[in-house]
């Protein structure tokens, strides 16, 4: 472990997102948490959580996450079909004088239970995944894992970002799922600041635009980290300059960095030059968030 950890982050919450997978969200998130004196790292990429591979934490807690789905008491059901007609996801059918429920189609809105005049429907728990808590040096790690085949990770992310995991007076880094769908919206909604990670390609620009539009829609302060920077022209950088988007940091396309990272090492803990990249990024973020608090209190 190297010295000079970044202090003074307060309890700021930073979300790291990108329009597609593989741009470097986890690289940035893990290393930001690592260079902070004390941090919480939350892996919201519940379909493919991988941040723990870098921290190799000692797991100390594990919790099943369940959603509520309906179950029917066939003796009470009189076949009125109010629930079938109500369900916008078409999770219920009435066949052969019996109500049939498709658990995996249900979005747990609870509406069918409300509209049932016979009180034939009640809620039951369905486990959709787990949350694990672990410790690794200065970082507390929360990881969500969605079970294979489950349609939505939102309930797990919601639980990951519950108040008790965020309230402590230290940096929180939220490693988001790729893209700009519901799971990403859920992941950034409580963030003080968003980092958009972008690749130096035309495809990278397309993906950057998606998350750029999202953070604007959510009215979040944000900046871009350009990853895998080469000597040649960088279309993502050009896009940022044209649209007056703040560039926070440029991470080089570097064989050594790539090798360390793909071996599951935290690069900032391995080499002073990488540590410098991420500690100056974190220092910049501290200032950005403080400015934001002054401008938009």
């Amino acid at each position: 472990m190297l010295d000079f950890m970044v202090e003074g982050t307060g309890n700021m919450k930073i979300a790291v997102l990108s329009g597609k997978g593989g741009t470097g969200k986890t690289l940035v998130s893990v290393n930001l948490a690592a260079v902070s004196k004390e941090a919480t790292y939350i892996d919201c990429d519940v379909e493919e959580a991988n941040g723990h591979l870098f921290f190799k934490p000692q797991w100390i807690e594990k919790e099943d996450i369940a959603v509520k789905i309906p179950q029917v008491d066939k003796k009470l059901c009189d076949g009125c079909r109010n629930c079938v007609n109500f369900c916008k996801f078409n999770a219920l059918v009435y066949v052969n004088d019996e109500l049939k429920i498709f658990d995996e189609i249900c979005h747990s809105c609870g509406g069918c239970i409300l509209v049932c005049p016979q009180k034939a429907l009640t809620e039951k728990d369905k486990i959709i995944g787990i949350i694990k808590k672990g410790i690794s040096d200065n970082v507390t790690i929360y990881t969500g894992v969605l079970n294979t085949g489950e349609p939505s990770g939102v309930p797990i992310i919601n639980k990951l970002l519950s108040e008790k995991n965020l309230k402590e007076n230290k940096l929180t880094v939220i490693d988001c799922p790729p893209g700009s769908s519901c799971v990403v919206m859920e992941s950034i909604k409580d963030a003080d600041y968003c980092i958009l990670v972008a690749e130096p390609t035309l495809f990278g620009v397309h993906n950057l635009k998606m998350v750029y539009q999202l953070v604007k829609l959510f009215d979040k302060p944000f900046g871009v980290v350009l990853n895998k920077c080469l000597k040649e022209d960088n279309p993502a950088e050009k896009y940022c300059l044209e649209n007056d988007i703040k560039i926070l940091s440029k991470i080089p396309f570097d064989n050594e960095l790539g090798t360390l990272n793909s071996n599951g090492e935290i690069v900032a803990n391995k080499d002073e030059k990488y540590k410098k990249i991420f500690s100056s990024l974190l220092n910049k973020l501290v200032k950005e968030v403080q400015n934001e608090a002054v401008v938009n209190p």
């Binding site: 079938v84 369900c87 916008k88 996801f89 078409n90 999770a91 059918v93 009435y94 066949v95 052969n96 019996e98 049939k100 498709f102 189609i105 349609p151």
Partner: protein, 122 residues
């Protein structure tokens, strides 16, 4: 016996619709009376669970047989619960398929796919 077929248009010359849940109409053909009844598929434009909702329409119209080119597992489970026999339709007109069915030339549908589950809308 009543035969259900997903169709592109309200005509016996119409082609069989290759999608079940998203078909614009269903034909219900009564073999005894030779009566054709075209019903709008209320599931055609729903955001999710189209196969399930469409299967409910087939069940509610009391079909005994369904001719389809392909079918998802959720729809199949609804139809099976209602004892509806599912046959493999050809990518051809409704008329041809009805003739082939009458001549015993269609076989039961063997392959049920895992469903698209809204993937077309993403």
């Amino acid at each position: 016996m009543k035969i259900a077929i997903p169709v592109e248009n309200k005509s016996l010359d119409s082609n069989v619709c290759l999608s079940f849940g998203r078909a614009p109409y269903f034909l219900f053909y009564n073999v005894e009376t030779k009566e054709s009844n075209f019903v709008v598929n209320s599931a055609a434009a729903v955001t999710g669970g189209a196969g399930i909702k469409a299967a409910q329409t087939i069940v509610d119209n009391k079909a005994n047989v369904l001719l389809v080119t392909q079918l998802g597992e959720n729809a199949a489970s609804v139809l099976k619960a209602a004892d509806i026999k599912i046959y493999q339709a050809k990518n051809a007109s409704v008329k041809e398929n009805l003739d082939d069915f009458t001549d015993d030339k269609l076989s039961l549908l063997e392959k049920i796919h895992a469903g698209f589950h809204g993937r077309r809308n993403r």
